[in-house]
Subunit: 465 residues, 2 copies
């Protein structure tokens, strides 16, 4: 007999009175004096466990059932019945219970039932998906990842997997991981005693990428609407709750589009994602809203309802200068906005998500389109209450002469010859943005530390499992 | 006025007589003596371009239209009409044509209209998506990637992004890329003069992963049905048409499942993917079938129809030993099957996809489940006509004592303590497989060189763009 998922059973997909089978793990067991036991079984398909009522008459009741505690794996067959207790509408009257896998020494089981700190659970990242919280995070991740792909697919975007290993990473910063097969104990040298990367795997010094944007632009200039959704890397030595060395990023890119089109896309995209997760992860979000962050649902609804306000950077600075609030970082035109500024704007001043547009050119990347004032570029940040910047994007410089000048200013040389080609042959105005997937998950779940919203976090000093 | 995609226009989504706008790139232009020009415009949304008929009366006809050739970007507004010619059912009677971006020196445009070799096009990987072939490959990739995610999502699988950077990669082989931020010109040393990886970014020697399987098993042991779909790496110095240093892999893992369940999943999954691509990429596949590989559609249909044959490795060897065909690599029980053997089995002996099951334990990995004969393990390969192995999988060893013995035999030590924990706490029989995404795309499109089915291929000596 095939098993049915607990999600399907709790949703009422099968009529009561039928014999069903569930398989999963024991969340808890309680023994009644009345001659039966209650087992809560989870299988990962839903937030809630299903309860099985197990009569003492079963052959293995004394020897097995009464020994089977949290974490044991079981197969249960029985009749699906309406539940008498509060909580779920359905439960199972067990006719047989097979204990498939035991827990060695239940006393030392690392995630035995009591509550654990998130910090501790990071040290058992291979077992934490068995907890309520990490099961819920996993389901939210899956629903949002699926929503991202389907949003773009339904709108005729092509998914482009840009390369992770690159020898021409010019976005700057220099916080890059080197990828190499050179033997470190016998490094090959050139005549000038420099490291001879010509002998490395790719024939030149190679790194893990920090963004797929430049590559995906070449597909945008052929297929009009494209996106990436893949891993990106930062070798930044930041031990904070907001930084990961390896994380996933979504980067759409659209042709025949300017900065307003880009903001339209960002708003519509976020609204779609939040509506989807509100609809499909009701139980999981209710859990986060109750136990992790009580503003979670309200925040999601605000963004889902698309109450975005757009303002120019110059206006934003003027608002920040006029307020009586004092900031750690002083404000004047030309600075990059800090988290405290961003959060003031969206949380206190507007009370809704804000799109700040047209930033000073000197604090932005070479590929952002120069505005007519020659002081600002067509960049935008989407700021959301409770987190600050959630999306960063720009219209790209599509004019070859201006791009050349900007690249020369920043000392970027011929390695991006191919990127210039995109402006040389059939250039069009185009724009795009980046959304950090783990940042999105943090925002949706209210989980404060980004290490807790990715299965196996990579941070300075840590790449276990 | 908003633009409509060419896919929508050609599909008849808008009634003739309406004014429409398209934006895209000129594939070709032809000037008639009758006082008008024909332009074929593509925007990446579909295989076919749409034809615009441009009257000489337009203001910019002489100065612009007659100069705008292949690769120029244009916006065209006009009336959608039924086409008189053969080919498409619809065309546009242009009322205005804006040339948005020109082609610098059309004579030297790297992908001017004539046919190019795939080898040449790899040197202009930033422009090759503008060609028929690479546009089609991109759409097939997108449809299949979306089908993969939706197949699993609809069946309650959770998507797990396993880490790419890992310090505990024990799958063996040793063909790994090192990930490091150490300064190669001043390598830190330990007291014993070894490289001091404690000072590297992650505090120990770290690599790019070759598989997410071991990690994803830990999620399988909590959420029952999971999968990865992400990049993997091989630092193998193989300059062949079948190897990439960086490629994407799909790895589902299912709990409470044995090798037969695994084979069922693999068959159903491939059948779903091929049915989806046959339905959604009709035009693109017709192109591949005509110009790239004339057996393409027939092959896809065979797999889509699920005519899989299962046989034991031992039976497969016996068939290979009995045939009169001579092989380069001689056959006897205990060898790993070579491509020539695999292709003989599925192409000549069976004439359909074959699942070979239960391989000798000595040629398989430590985590595969030992069979009762103690000579074979519960491994399987799915072989498809025209390519050989397309999927490899196994039931995993869920018994701690046997796993311990297998790991000890292969000299794998304590670094996998966490993997053993999965057997210590609530173990269940489970199984999974891996499907190389680019291998799938090669198979579907008939493209012979795997470098041509990924946007920017990484191979020994090559990581440009």
């Amino acid at each position: 007999m095939a098993a049915t998922s607990i999600k399907q059973l709790l949703a009422g997909s099968i009529a009561t009175g039928n014999t069903v089978r569930v398989q999963g793990w024991v969340r808890s067991r309680r023994d009644s004096k009345g001659g039966f036991s209650f087992m809560a079984i989870h299988d990962g398909s839903s937030f809630d466990a299903i309860q099985a009522v197990i009569p003492a008459e079963l052959d293995n009741y004394q020897d097995e059932i009464l020994q089977a505690g949290a974490g044991c794996s079981v197969k249960i067959t029985g009749e699906l019945v309406a539940s008498q207790g509060k909580g779920q509408a359905f439960e199972i009257q067990a006719q047989s219970v097979d204990v498939v896998g035991w827990v060695d020494d239940p006393e030392s089981y690392p995630i035995a039932k009591k509550r654990h700190s998130f910090e501790y659970l990071r040290t058992v990242a291979h077992l934490r998906p068995r907890t309520n919280t990490f099961g819920a995070i996993t389901r939210v991740r899956t629903v949002l990842a699926n929503a991202i792909h389907n949003y773009f697919f339904e709108r005729e975007f092509q998914w482009i997997n840009t390369p992770l290993i690159t020898a021409s990473d010019c976005e700057g910063a220099g916080e890059l991981f080197r990828v190499s097969t050179l033997d470190l104990t016998h490094l090959p040298r050139t005549e000038n005693d420099a490291i001879d990367f010509a002998q490395d795997f790719f024939g030149e010094e190679s790194f893990l990428t920090v963004s797929g944007q430049l590559n995906v632009e070449s597909y945008c200039m052929a297929l009009s609407k494209v996106y990436t959704f893949g891993p990106t890397f930062r070798a930044e030595n930041s031990n904070t709750s907001r930084h990961l060395a390896e994380f996933w990023m979504v980067e759409p890119e659209i042709a025949f589009a300017d900065l307003n089109d880009d903001a339209d896309l960002a708003e519509d995209f976020l609204s779609y994602l939040f509506n989807t997760v509100l609809e499909k992860c009701e139980d999981d979000l209710a859990f986060f809203n109750q136990f992790v962050d009580k503003t979670c649902l309200e925040r999601l609804q605000t963004v889902a309802d698309k109450n975005f306000v757009r303002m120019d950077y110059t206006e934003a600075v003027s608002i920040l200068e006029k307020t009586k609030k004092t900031f750690e970082y002083p404000v004047k035109w030309g600075i990059d906005l800090q988290s405290e500024h961003e959060r003031f704007l969206c949380e206190e001043h507007v009370g809704a998500p804000v799109v700040v547009m047209n930033y000073p050119k000197d604090i932005k990347a070479f590929y952002m389109r120069m505005n007519d004032d020659e002081k600002t570029v067509a960049a935008m940040d989407v700021l959301a209450p409770g987190i600050g910047e959630i999306i960063g994007g720009s219209q790209r410089e599509e004019r070859l002469d201006i791009l050349n000048a900007r690249m020369a200013e920043q000392g970027i040389g011929d390695e991006l010859w191919w990127y210039k080609d995109l402006r040389r042959y059939g250039t069009v105005p185009h724009a795009g943005f980046g959304l950090g997937f783990e940042r999105l998950i943090s925002y949706v779940t209210g989980m404060e530390n980004i290490r807790d919203v990715i299965p196996f976090p990579r941070t300075p000093g840590n790449a276990p499992f």
